[in-house]
């Protein structure tokens, strides 16, 4: 502006007045730390033998997307209705919410989802790949074998399952009592597996020697015939009439519920789930069961819940008593028991016992059932680490001689002998075979490792098939990493059950169903550790308004506008579930 002739100039009125937004100021340049969405693994998923995406299942349940949640369950486990009743739920022991108030009732919700699907006769959308033209023979139609069949069928393989007994299901059918697992539930889940094209041949006993002929008709064999044989006490009088194997009793009971006529006092020797199942079944048949166990109650291998319910129903437990001999009487048997005492703790954390100084007890019983454990009926699998042919996976073992793969799974190879571990081994076997056939033996271990969930022994089929879940890192979120400011103390929904009097009179299922609103409320207690559940805290608290509600490239449900993000880190800290991470800005 010129200075001359100023008084006649028309100089515009110039005041401080804005006419631009501040958006041209890209404050992202201030950053030296950068937040991003990074989904991690929840502890429940990590310990779940089948690696279920539990936080996501809870999230979908809360949203009312029951079908989608159920389909998610089915993508990792063909037996949600079964596991929702009989799984030992390690997820609930690892649940981060346990440290806050009480663990989420994850198993109850799994059952709810399966039962809801059944009730509404829903058809799941399963990720079924095209046929690959190979055939797999599966020995044993227990949870391991059927799971392998299911996943192999989904991956595109033809499966034939050979079952020695007259109906499929293995332990699920023959060992677990109806009051825990109704027949209808099991049969429906088996039917779903068959609907994928899996053929089950019952009454088809395959012996160890004889399976060599399967090699010519199939491209692979999966062996999961389980631990069928009851272990023997190896004490005198074990062969007496009136003394039976506990598992056999359960099997007979399943075949013909009216059959056993029990009365009087019945001893059940053993401390595992089978012993408990036998005792509670005996009770329902009208007799009085007494569990005789050589260690302490707290050392029993059975699930704590089961022991509690057994006691509640009136089963008596005689602890620290070891049987010395059995003698026959006219009606019934006489059991000679030695009282034991604790002499320390062994490596497994259980009491080491030795006889105490009292004289043995003599007790009469009408019947005795032995349930001290099981073993395989034939030496199917012997660990052979020296030959180099065995590839040891998390729950199964693949034996490949360069020509023909045989995979061992189920109780034969899993560390923990549970239904869910058996199912996991079936899934793992299916994946291993698929890798072997598609790319080769050297890739089996790396691929299985790639699909590992967290730091546990489970693998995820979703990750294997390159689903969204592959973007999650294996870091397991701990309680300290949860921002509990956003949660209120809410007691866990108790499992509704039949009353004691109602329970002991029949084999009706004890646990009752829950309603949708109860399920949603309980699922709402889940912290959703490590995943984004669109709570929008990041969006809400960003001072720069730099969080956008849209899908991000990293797979979360929000995106950060790095033009403006100053790296303050509020989003990361206020994310209640640790689904984000703050990293140094790369130069």
């Amino acid at each position: 502006m010129k200075n001359s002739n100023r008084s006649n100039m028309c100089v515009p009125l110039l005041i401080p007045r804005s006419y631009k937004t501040s958006e041209e100021n890209k404050t992202g340049s201030w950053r030296f730390l950068r937040p991003r969405y990074l989904e991690k693994t929840a502890p429940c998923s990590s310990v779940c033998p089948v690696g279920q995406d539990i936080p996501r299942i809870q999230m979908l349940t809360v949203q009312g997307s029951f079908k989608e949640a159920w389909e998610l369950l089915l993508s990792e486990n063909p037996f949600p209705g079964t596991c929702g009743r009989v799984c030992f739920h390690p997820c609930e022991s690892a649940c981060n919410r346990l440290e806050f108030d009480e663990a989420v009732a994850i198993r109850m919700i799994e059952r709810f989802l399966a039962d809801t699907a059944t009730r509404y006769e829903l058809q799941p959308r399963l990720n079924k790949l095209a046929k690959k033209g190979k055939k797999v023979a599966i020995i044993g139609s227990g949870p391991g074998g059927l799971s392998a069949a299911y996943f192999l069928a989904l991956l595109g393989y033809s499966c034939d399952v050979f079952e020695s007994s007259n109906k499929p299901g293995g332990m699920l059918r023959w060992a677990i009592p109806f009051y825990r697992l109704p027949l209808k539930v099991l049969e429906e889940e088996i039917a779903r597996i068959e609907s994928l094209g899996v053929r089950i041949f019952c009454n088809h006993h395959v012996e160890f020697e004889k399976f060599k002929h399967l090699r010519s008709n199939y491209d692979a064999i999966f062996v999961s015939c389980g631990y069928q044989k009851g272990r023997r006490l190896n004490i005198p009088g074990e062969e007496s009439p009136g003394v039976e194997d506990g598992l056999t009793f359960l099997r007979e009971l399943k075949s013909d519920p009216s059959s056993p006529s029990l009365h009087g006092s019945v001893a059940v020797i053993g401390g595992g789930n089978t012993a408990i199942d036998v005792a509670r079944s005996v009770l329902r048949c009208g007799a009085k069961p007494v569990i005789v166990y050589r260690r302490r109650k707290e050392d029993m291998r059975a699930f704590g819940e089961e022991i509690k319910m057994a006691l509640d129903e009136g089963v008596r437990i005689e602890e620290l008593k070891s049987p010395l001999k059995i003698e026959k009487k006219e009606s019934g048997v006489i059991l000679t028991l030695q009282k034991m005492k604790v002499a320390g703790i062994d490596e497994s954390g259980r009491a080491a016992i030795e006889p105490d100084n009292t004289d043995p007890e003599i007790v009469s019983y009408d019947r005795v059932f032995v349930a001290i454990g099981t073993e395989p009926s034939e030496p199917w699998y012997v660990c052979d680490s020296c030959s180099g042919k065995d590839i040891k996976l998390y729950n199964s073992v693949m034996r490949f001689d360069g020509q023909f793969p045989v995979i061992f799974g189920g109780d034969l190879t899993t560390e923990a002998k549970t239904v869910t571990n058996a199912i996991a081994s079936g899934k793992e076997a299916a994946m291993a075979l698929d890798v072997l056939f598609r790319i080769g033996k050297d890739f089996v271990l790396p691929e299985i490792s790639r699909c590992r969930v967290g730091n546990g022994l489970s693998v995820s089929m979703e990750i294997y098939l390159n689903g969204e879940r592959k973007n999650r890192v294996s870091h397991v979120v701990s309680y300290a990493e949860i921002n509990t400011d956003y949660f209120n103390l809410i007691p866990r929904t108790p499992q509704p059950r039949l009353l004691r009097e109602e329970r002991i009179n029949s084999f009706s299922e004890i646990d009752l169903k829950i309603s949708g609103s109860v399920a949603m409320k309980e699922a709402g207690r889940c912290f959703n550790c490590g995943i984004c559940n669109h709570c929008d805290n990041c969006y809400l608290f960003c001072p720069e308004i730099a969080v956008k509600r849209q899908d991000s490239e990293e797979g979360g449900l929000r995106a950060i506008n790095y033009d403006y993000c100053k790296g303050c880190g509020l989003c990361v800290v206020e994310c209640p579930r640790n689904a984000m991470v703050l990293e140094e800005e790369s130069a």
């Binding site: 804005s18 937004t21 501040s22 100021n25 400011d485 720069e544 506008n561 206020e574």
Partner: protein, 295 residues
């Protein structure tokens, strides 16, 4: 966790607040609650700078930046002018820091409230004169370090209770709010918007720079202030009716103080004494609400 927070933004990105600034978060929430039919007065405070230099403005509403102590008086003039022009809908909002509210601006605020001027006065409180470099104000809490209360000369006067001072005027509505409780804050602002007469909202806004805390802790610390009863959430209508809006978890004050560098010089005895002072104040507040505390 579902929060009802309106979607529209009335603020642009690109403002120059420090990373993690509580005042920026507070403004964002308040504008969401107020909408765009407002005129905002900003006396000298951090937001005078945050809003951006000429020719930019980070706010989508009309703003008049004014001198430090004029928050209450300029608002009175604007409201009068609007009435004269026949506009009875536009809300007049003063947005001031603690300096311009508790200290230099107190006279104008008190005068405006005494006249029951029809406006909303919002004080975002970062507990010191932050804009000029962290000097002590009457809103600085007992025990705090500031550049004018350094070393052993830490502030040994209690924080002035501005809400009580205004309640003494029988102000139509006065409330405390906190950036870590967005739903409560937004509800209060909306409630205030639908009233007439003088309305005052006191928002607790963390200042990571001045309180010597990491920027990512702004919300956590603000929340702690409520959970420890140091900054209770309550409202007062017509100077007589007290309502406590949130029953805090009752954490010990030392949990709050430990997180902040500006309190790092306090000893255990000091903290115990402060705990007593906080409990005393909380009991007094309960009495005013007509609730007797058993503990």
């Amino acid at each position: 966790m579902e929060l009802f927070v309106p979607d529209r933004e009335f603020m642009y990105s690109g403002h120059v607040a420090c990373p993690g600034c509580g005042a920026a978060i507070a403004m964002r929430f308040v504008l969401k609650a107020l909408g765009e039919k407002i005129i905002m007065i900003i006396p000298a405070c951090c937001w005078s700078i945050i809003a951006g230099p000429y020719p930019m403005s980070t706010l989508r509403v009309p703003v008049l930046h004014t001198a430090f102590e004029t928050g209450g008086s300029v608002a009175s003039g604007i409201k009068a002018a609007l009435e004269v022009r026949g506009d009875h809908e536009t809300t007049v909002v003063t947005w001031a820091g603690d300096g311009g509210t508790f200290d230099i601006g107190f006279q104008a605020l008190s005068g405006a409230v005494e006249r029951n001027e029809d406006f909303i006065y919002i004080c975002y409180d970062n507990e010191a004169y932050m804009n000029t470099g962290i000097q002590r104000s009457s809103s600085t809490p007992y025990g705090a370090w500031t550049t004018t209360t350094p070393g052993q000369d830490w502030k040994k006067m209690r924080k002035k209770n501005i809400v009580e001072a205004l309640v003494a005027h029988r102000i139509r509505y006065a409330a405390t709010a906190n950036i870590a409780f967005p739903e409560d804050l937004i509800n209060k602002v909306k409630k205030a918007k639908n009233m007439k007469g003088s309305r005052f909202i006191h928002i607790f806004s963390t200042c990571p720079t001045g309180w010597r805390v990491p920027s990512e802790m702004s919300i956590k610390i603000a929340r702690m202030a409520v959970q420890t009863n140091i900054f209770p959430l309550y409202e007062v209508e017509n100077g007589v009716e007290y309502t406590i809006n949130y029953r805090p978890k009752g954490y010990l004050v030392k949990e709050y103080f430990k997180l902040q560098g500006r309190f790092s010089h306090l000893t255990e005895e000091d903290l115990d004494q402060i705990q007593e002072m906080v409990e005393e104040d909380w009991k007094l507040l309960l009495r005013k609400t007509g609730v007797f505390s058993g503990s």
